[in-house]
């Protein structure tokens, strides 16, 4: 009897709870949205040459590039004023197969809630400090200076190999850590000021520029779906530590928005820190022959952007140690120092912009020579690095002798777009890249003219 009464009370309580929930808000209904970008790029990319055997890669002067996502989003507003929802973003193209054979088909997947108390996000989502960025404007959709996680490049394999290359593509923080499982919190904006903080338990991905990290790497199994620390939406039943990965990645940033007369002002600053947790076996985090080593990952950036009567101008500076420590033997660092500035004007259906980004990296670990290329579609580059210090620090370049000297990459971008209707744009532009360094493994130039379309739905 008691059992029955308890069961009745229990069911009543559950029923009351369900009734309350049902009455509190409409259930979550999923809506579909997304975007699609397409460009035809025509121009020139310098070829790359392996000096030891004369092998080479040449590039076509015309390329079609596309990128898109289908977004499934739903939310419901509770009686207490808080809105709760979720978002799942499906790639609208066959993505690159990542290390470990993990195709990235779901880009982001996360839960969110927001109200007068701010906004919280939980799941596979961009870092808070990435989204808070204000700096260099761009009228070229999908390109620009903060276009993390896109394949919109126009560069050779060795240009992308340059330690400074990623910096001109990503002026904000955390582009290497896009979409890993994390929690973000944004405060309400007060007197123009908003603060964003984020935390990710683990990042298990390759260190910054691979060419500066010969013989070392995080892992094992870095960036594999189903492994804790994967750089996209995934789940794992446990999370190993002491495995040469970055953990407890914390970021904090603030931006300020205000309008003084007709001038709109946006200021931004952000910082990120991820502790490096070495494995019990020191192999992997240190190369004793070259002195390359992994360390805690640090980044910061600061930017300013101003708008006045259709003009927008801005710029930013930034720093990224790429998760690499100063070289054990040379003492020189492997840090990227990022600079960017631009100007945009919009009137009627038109937007047009011109911008520059430059990154400098001292490449303290030294750079190898490009000796051979598996010519064809794979462009596998052979860049030997000495297995002993006596070779690595010798002039036996073909055997793996390293060359020391700074690297730089500069990028200039001209962008124009014309709005045809709601969420439909024609876009065009011109780009120029110049990658400089002390060896043939990191140098090259490219230029291109672009025409495309940008759809939002």
């Amino acid at each position: 009897m008691n059992l029955l009464r308890n069961a009745v009370l229990g069911s009543t309580a559950v029923g009351a709870l369900l009734a309350t929930s049902a009455m509190a808000a409409d259930p979550i209904k999923i809506g579909v949205g997304g975007y699609y970008l397409f460009y035809a790029v025509a121009g020139h990319i310098d070829g790359q040459y392996g000096y030891a055997d004369g092998s080479s890669t040449r590039y076509k002067g015309l390329q079609f590039q596309q990128e898109g996502e289908i977004h499934f989003t739903g939310q419901s507003k509770l009686d207490n004023g808080t809105t709760v929802g979720l978002a799942v973003e499906l790639e609208a193209w066959n993505n690159t197969v990542a290390v470990g054979g993990s195709a990235r088909q779901i880009d982001e997947a996360f839960l969110f809630a927001f109200g007068s108390w701010g906004r919280i996000e939980f799941g596979a989502r961009d870092m808070a400090s990435f989204r808070m960025y204000y700096g260099t404007p761009s009228a070229l959709p999908g390109w620009g200076f903060i276009n993390a996680n896109t394949s919109f490049n126009w560069a050779s394999g060795i240009m992308m190999n340059n330690p400074s290359f990623q910096g001109v593509q990503n002026a904000a923080l955390g582009h290497q850590f896009q979409d890993a499982n994390r929690i973000n919190y944004f405060t309400p904006r007060y007197m123009g000021l908003q603060i964003g903080v984020g935390y990710a338990p683990k990042m298990n991905l390759a260190p910054g520029p691979a060419v500066l990290a010969p013989g070392i790497g995080s892992g094992p199994g870095n960036n594999t779906a189903g492994v804790c620390g994967f750089n996209d939406a995934t789940t794992a039943s446990n999370c190993p530590t002491n495995d040469n990965s970055w953990q407890d990645v914390v970021d904090i940033s603030a931006n300020y928005l205000n309008k003084f007369g007709e001038v709109v002002v946006a200021l931004y600053g952000g910082f990120m820190y991820g502790s490096f947790i070495p494995g019990f076996n020191s192999g992997g985090s240190v190369n004793r022959a070259t002195g390359a080593n992994l360390t805690s990952w640090k980044q910061w950036a600061a930017g300013a952007e101003f708008g006045y009567r259709g003009f927008t101008m801005g710029g930013s500076i930034g720093y990224d140690n790429n998760g690499l420590g100063g070289n054990w033997y040379t003492g020189a660092d492997n840090d990227s120092r990022k600079y960017t500035a631009g100007l945009m004007y919009e009137t009627g259906a038109w937007q047009m912009s011109f911008g520059w980004a430059g990154t400098r990296n001292a490449a303290g670990n030294g750079l190898p020579q490009l000796t051979a290329i598996a010519s064809g579609t794979t462009q596998a580059l052979t860049m030997p690095v000495g297995g002993t210090s006596s070779i690595a620090f010798s002039n036996q370049l073909a055997a793996g002798g390293l060359t020391f000297g700074s690297t730089s990459v500069d990028k200039f971008e001209l962008g124009v777009n014309y709005s045809l209707g709601t969420g439909i744009k024609l876009a065009a532009g011109a780009i120029y890249w110049n990658a400089v360094g002390p060896t043939n493994a990191v140098v090259g130039q490219s230029w291109g003219i672009l025409m495309g379309m940008d759809l939002r739905f």
């Binding site: 975007y35 699609y36 404007p137 070229l140 999908g142 390109w143 709109v264 945009m344 919009e346 939002r456």
Partner: protein
């Protein structure tokens, strides 16, 4: 007598409408606030695809309009976003149903 009558009627009229006018003004302000929020959200949603170029949420005319609305310059903000949309050949969304 006529002027006294008129004056009395005027006083009575003012007395009657006084409580109504602020309420109407408050209602109009709320409508403008809702309209501004609707237009700003709509422009953020469809103005940019990846969200990293300077349009949609990052467009500085839109940001200025949102700041105007937050600072109780609703009409200025609404006009700015509507002009932005029309200039870009958009269909301006209809007023939300109250």
């Amino acid at each position: 007598m006529y002027s006294l009558l008129m004056r009395s009627a005027l006083v009575a009229g003012v007395a009657l409408t006084a409580p109504i006018l602020p309420a109407a003004t408050a209602s109009a302000q709320a409508d403008l606030e809702a309209r501004c929020s609707q237009l700003v959200s709509y422009y953020s949603r469809y103005g940019s695809s990846r969200g990293e170029d300077t349009d949609g949420n990052r467009d500085f005319i839109r940001i200025g309009a949102e700041l105007d609305c937050q600072n109780r310059r609703h009409e200025q903000g609404v006009n700015a976003v509507e002009a932005l949309m029309k200039g870009k050949n958009w269909s301006v969304p209809a007023l939300p149903r109250s």
